[in-house]
């Protein structure tokens, strides 16, 4: 009996273009524990969003996900959409950066939320609406009974994101995947939302996957993290370990690129160059053109993700200490 609620094995996501294929995610593996918060960190094109759209069966038409996504003993990958609907929204839910594109603009908040309960939990309309209003209150919407009658466009960005979270939590899913949920929000509202996520994971025991580029958000909410680059996980481990003792040069580079409000450095120490194009990944380690620790082996061979003990893994051949050597 494992204590994992979700187990991803060798997940790859491929997109078919006119005459070629692009692999957005390659051989991703991870396990999600009950009640934990896992942060998935990376820049645009790292594959962090596509991996989870693949798991949820929400890829664009030319996209295909292979491997396994085990929800208990059920594999979500390759399942027909009609069967997938029995799990999506009920056991595993996903919310997105821009709530306006995920909410139906022509339906009242109450209508679209209670529909979830009618469909998945077989509630009658009255009970579904009552539960909806209770949930809106839980996520901090003032005057929930009144706001439930509003249309999405009548609400602010922060309120809409709360509505999305309420909708995702209605069936008390075991897993909530949040893709950049606070990126479009002001800092004060972001702080409210992060606080809400913490309370909700504690109260409902939901496992949270937080997809983000913001290391500040990761530090505040996550237990473990996975750093992605060029479609692959390059480092995994507990949040404190990766922040205070990064072992992959890309993780180190991200940390050095992030301005810190508490201490002002004269200059940031950014990663040189640009993220790779997925169609033309460099030979060997994808990060090698930007890496200050690169040596001959990195140009020829791709470093595998290797366990380092204590739940840590890294994909890098360099064995020396990273901190002492500054990126030029």
């Amino acid at each position: 009996m494992s204590d994992y609620v979700l187990s991803i094995q060798d997940l790859s996501v491929t997109f078919a273009l006119h005459d070629t294929e692009v692999q957005a995610v390659r051989e991703m593996n991870f396990d999600l524990r009950a009640g934990e918060t896992l942060a998935v960190v990376g820049e645009s094109g790292s594959g962090k969003s596509q991996a989870f759209l693949g798991i949820m069966g929400l890829l664009a038409k030319n996209g295909r996900a292979t491997g396994k996504a085990m929800l208990g003993d059920v594999n979500l990958l390759g399942m027909a959409p009609s069967r997938l609907d029995a799990y999506r929204g009920k056991d595993i839910a996903m919310i997105f950066q821009d709530p306006m594109t995920s909410l139906n603009p022509s339906l009242k908040v109450k209508t679209q939320l209670s529909e979830v309960l009618v469909k998945h939990r077989g509630f009658d309309t009255r009970k579904a609406e009552m539960t909806t209003i209770e949930m809106l209150e839980r996520v901090g919407i003032p005057e929930p009974a009144k706001r439930a009658n509003a249309y999405p466009h009548e609400m602010s960005g922060g309120m809409r994101q709360r509505v999305m979270i309420a909708m995702a939590l209605l069936c008390q899913p075991k897993i909530l995947i949040a893709d950049e949920p606070t990126t479009a929000l002001d800092v004060t509202v972001q702080a409210q939302m992060l606080d809400l996520f913490k309370t909700l994971t504690e109260d409902f025991g939901t496992s949270l996957v937080m997809i983000t580029h913001d290391l500040g958000v990761v530090a505040g909410v996550a237990d473990r993290m996975m750093v992605m680059y060029g479609g692959r996980a390059v480092e995994k481990g507990k949040v404190d370990d990766l922040f205070y003792d990064p072992r992959h040069p890309y993780t180190l580079g991200l940390l050095h690129s992030t301005p810190h409000i508490a201490h002002r450095a004269a200059r940031l120490d950014p990663i040189q160059g640009l993220p790779p194009s997925l169609e033309h990944l460099p030979k060997g380690c994808s990060f090698n053109p930007r890496c200050a620790f690169c040596f001959d082996r990195c140009l020829e061979e791709r470093p595998p993700l290797t366990p380092l003990g204590d739940e840590r893994e890294k994909a890098c051949f360099f064995e020396g200490p990273l901190q002492s050597k500054k990126v030029a």
């Binding site: 820049e43 606080d195 958000v217 508490a262």
Partner: protein, 339 residues
Amino acid sequence: MNQTPANLLEIRDLKKTFSIATGLFSRQLTLTALADINFNVRQGETLGIVGESGCGKSTLGRCILQLISPDEGQVLWLGQDLTRVPAEEMRKRRADLQIIFQDPLASLNPRMTVGEIIEDPLRTLRPEMNKTERRARVVRIMESVGLLPEMINRYPHEFSGGQAQRIGIARALITEPKLIVCDEPVSALDVSIQAQILNLLAELKDEFGLTLIFISHNLSVVRHVSDRILVLYLGRIVELATGDEIYEDPKHPYTTALLTAVPIPDPKLARQRNIDALKGEIPSPINPPSGCTFRTRCRHAQPQCAETRPPLETLENGRLVACIRWREIEAEKAALAEA
């Protein structure tokens, strides 16, 4: 620094309103985007402007450059009021005052080559230069911003966001401006690229002796680049102070609340931190609260805060704060720290 540097720009009693119709037959409503704006920009400094969406920070940047005409008040550029300068002369003045926008690709003409985009301002603003001279300067500026000169005949869509922002910066620099308004210049960029552009702006500022107005919603970024920081709330200044003063000793309760909301990329500090999240959201600028506009979200608000608009008080060192209770709040904090 013993001597305060000269003011490049002085903003006096600036006001900007927009009228909006809410429906076909409904009456016109007035949205006050900016009011009672008074501050100076010193020669050679980076002044950060922060605030939540809708606080008027971009409008302020545009009013300074006369891209939007303010309703009232003065924008004094080296003593001359730009709001009264005729359009034709203002156009020439733009050589001194440039802007960089948030969305680098959207702000570049897709049908012009990189060389043409960067060169374009020179055609209007430096008519005395011939084609060879213009090209030579374009190449020089491209090198300064980290673009390879052989990219000169490429089109914007061939560039990534970070490189496109370098093109935008080159276009702003080509006229040898004294002041550049940077309106969220790194918000659309990835973290690693964002750091590259921030470093580039710092280098260029030193190299060309620029003065920067840096508008951003990201307080960590603003802290990193700014000498002084202006905090706006609902179109009004709530505080202006040096970066260190703002972050180590904020006087206005809104500044304090904004700072505690900023995520810290340090798990131990983040856990220790007692986030006292600001309640609610920014009120509508169409119908702002009476008295202090922040009082509806302020944990220190008292009945008197609803009665009068707090004046913008000048403290030592040119620091500004608009809160009638800041001394009391400071005394309360000190008492609490002692207890």
